[in-house]
Symmetry: C2
Subunit: 156 residues, 2 copies
């Protein structure tokens, strides 16, 4: 078991573009219950199964296993809740921290979220200029919730 400590922000503008390499993520959920999400993900030709507990103080339990790519694709195609989440994740180093900027596609197109993983919940974070409002505790931005209520359906 690992513990994930993560803060999540909106981005202000496009100045982050070009700062890091992007990789395509295709993922879906076998459970979107906040107490026990179960995610299937395919990235860079590998399959992963990830179980996460409820987020408390930006922290949650996380269990991740590599699974056969064929299994992951079959579960995404046949078992996972609809819609799937597709996004490109850009990895950007900034002042010693690794930022991950997720640009969503499909029913969540238009949504861009910046995440930073921390060593402790109270770690001081120097925010890059392109980082805007924090949304760590806003459940609308949980990937699991972007299925039931995708960004394209949010009221302006």
């Amino acid at each position: 078991m690992a513990t994930e400590i993560e803060r999540k922000f909106l981005v202000k503008d496009d100045t982050w573009r070009g700062l890091g390499e992007g990789g395509h993520y295709r993922q879906g959920y076998l459970s979107t219950e906040p107490d026990r999400t179960v995610r299937v993900r395919v990235v860079a030709g590998k399959g992963y199964l990830t179980i996460k507990g409820r987020t408390v103080d930006a922290t949650r339990a996380e269990y991740e296993y590599v699974i056969p790519l064929a299994d992951a694709n079959a579960m995404l195609d046949e078992l996972c809740e609809r819609p799937l989440i597709e996004k490109t994740r850009y990895r950007i180093d900034c002042q010693g921290l690794l930022w991950e900027v997720d640009e969503f596609e499909g029913e969540n197109a238009g949504l861009v979220i910046a995440e930073v993983e921390l060593a402790s919940a109270d770690q001081v974070v120097a925010l890059p200029d392109w980082v805007g409002e924090e949304v760590t505790t806003d459940p609308r931005y949980y990937n699991a919730n972007l299925i039931a209520n995708p960004f394209s359906r949010w009221a302006g």
Copy 2:
């Protein structure tokens, strides 16, 4: 991905006892949705994560992975739906088929189910004398449903 073809029966009496060895199973669910159940199981000191699709014609897709025992126990203790399922499974060879007799404990005490795994859905099965009514298609007997509605709460 494997395909599981299974028929499930009640037992008539106790004459199956002594015909096979028993092993203790402790298991819980991260999802009990019929389209995508996710089970955590500990048996014989090993942890397993198992994903199953919906049952159609006694057949369902199944993906099973061995996971660290400590992860499985932590997920059972902290993440899985309540109550957990505890049972002793007896493995009994009978006329070339392997029968698994599950004797449930806790909130499902009193329930005994015999299962047989088949090579095809139309395989002819010679039923042992102690095998009673078939309940393959009765959702009350799905392990996942024995959590929300345990046997001890069924009306007589």
